[in-house]
Amino acid sequence: MFRNQYDTDVTTWSPTGRLFQVEYAMEAVKQGSAAIGLRSRSHVVLACVNKAQSELSSHQRKIFKVDDHIGVAIAGLTADGRVLSRYMRSESINHSFTYESPLPVGRLVVHLADKAQVCTQRSWKRPYGVGLLVGGLDESGAHLYYNCPSGNYFEYQAFAIGSRSQAAKTYLERRFESFGDSSREDLIKDAILAVRETLQGETLKSSLCTVSILGVDEPFHFLDQEAIQKVIDTFEKVPEEDEGEGEADEGEAEAAAAAPAEQGGGAGAGDQDVAPMEM
């Protein structure tokens, strides 16, 4: 995207009917480190890559618990993400207090989307620079939504956002049809494999990723390091033996690495280009 006369203000339309400031906000999401979500009929898994700014610092939190039955993973300006998570927690707890019942996730994402839309129609505000993968339960089962800075929201079976997410999306596109009936364990394994795709060659270690899960009869919680490492060990340790998975996965990883998507190339080439606001 190039600079033009219509991109200074969020309240200025371009002659082709675009709001450039909103589109620039969506670019910020693509600069953040990857976040992945997938769901079965009864569970939702959210996973993300832990990127620390330097070796001295710890990594930023990108997955938040909103309620026992809702979790959110963010990519983009983490400060904006933190504020929106606090809003989501507030909405959820207010609903629980009044109705003694969990807020259906479908209603929460609409509140969130409406909040984001306001920022696209006020001259004194700017759009939130964060994409949210909201996973949660309601009466009809498990759901995964993606909320965009534009105020749109979409429901997904599986999705990935942030830098090098195209690699993860390619992997998920191949496998998503089986997710609906996946067991909890298979869903976690697929999430971790998708995270591996975004690392593009870097060895997958449990310290590099955070995985969380929620489901019917399972409140939102993070998986601890050992649990993640155990899953990684099932496919990383002996790639030659595990023919059905190991080789196929290695092949996929190479194919994905060979053709980096435009954001993958851009962000990968210069992590120095990543704005300091984002991890």
């Binding site: 207090f97 479908g106 209603r107 309601d138």
Partner: protein, 264 residues
């Protein structure tokens, strides 16, 4: 002074049996303001309904109430429906001030309308409505301006039966059988002895009629015209009004003071 005349007015007014003096001394020196402020709060009920009795049974909930609205000691209105369906899953029965019940129905109408407008496959069930009402009643009580009702909320959603009660001061709980007003004293002892899990519809109705008959004999604000409402997974139905058979020729009724202490 304004305050004394308020109190006097309260005491003599209609002779309402449930009347409570509800004047709060407000020290602000301006007598006129007190009267205005007081006239904004609910001090006592005017047109009231009497007991509501409800039980859980095998397929859902059964609720009974009569159709009377008393104006103090006068049985003035004889066609008031004190039970109304709320959405697809719940039924609300009320005793106490009828106008406050109608106000609550307006609140719930708005609540259910907004719930339906979401059009997303989620819906507010009896538990959610009960808790919403608890919040409303308790908040009004905290402002010293109560909705003068005791509410019974029952329903079935996704196979789960729910029966709860909220009072005018915000006391709220769930149970297998509930009653309001005189029903607490006359009906619940019967229910405690005779209620069981998995009553059939006929057994449930018979049990409720037994309670309502006792209330009819012993509660002066009860009238012999009642409705029974049924809630199951399929939905809510409120019966047509009907009367109970009564027997007034018991010897004790024909000559009540015979054998009484101090009589001859």
């Amino acid at each position: 002074r304004e305050e004394t005349s308020d109190r006097e007015r309260g005491r003599g007014a209609i002779g309402v049996s449930e009347k409570m003096t509800f004047t709060i001394p407000i020290e602000n020196g301006n007598g006129v303001k007190n009267a205005e402020a007081d006239s904004q709060r609910t001090l006592y009920p005017y047109v009231t309904g009497t007991s509501v009795v409800a039980i859980k049974y095998k397929d859902g909930i059964l609720m009974a109430s009569d159709m009377g609205g008393s104006y103090g000691s006068t049985l003035r209105y004889k066609n008031i429906e004190r039970m109304k369906a709320i959405g697809k899953h719940s039924l609300l029965g009320a005793s106490g001030e009828i106008s406050d019940f109608q106000e609550i129905l307006r609140y719930l109408d708005e609540l259910m309308l907004n719930d339906n407008m979401w059009d997303d496959g989620n819906s507010l069930g009896p538990k959610e409505v009960h808790n919403y009402l608890t919040r409303v009643m308790y908040n009004r009580r905290n402002k010293f301006n109560p909705l003068w009702n005791t509410l019974v909320l029952g329903g079935v959603k996704n196979g789960e039966k729910y029966l709860g009660m909220v009072s005018m001061i915000g006391v709220s709980f769930e149970d297998n059988h509930v009653a309001t007003g005189f029903g607490n004293h006359l009906a619940r002892p019967i229910l405690r002895d005779e209620w069981r899990e998995d009553l059939s519809f006929e057994e449930g109705v018979k049990l409720l009629e037994k309670c309502m008959r006792v209330l009819l004999y012993r509660d002066r604000s009860a009238i012999n015209k009642l409705q029974i409402a049924k809630m199951t997974e399929e939905g809510v139905t409120v019966s047509e009004p009907y009367s109970l058979k009564t027997f007034w020729d018991f010897k004790a009724f024909t000559n009540p003071t015979v054998g009484a202490e101090g009589s001859w």
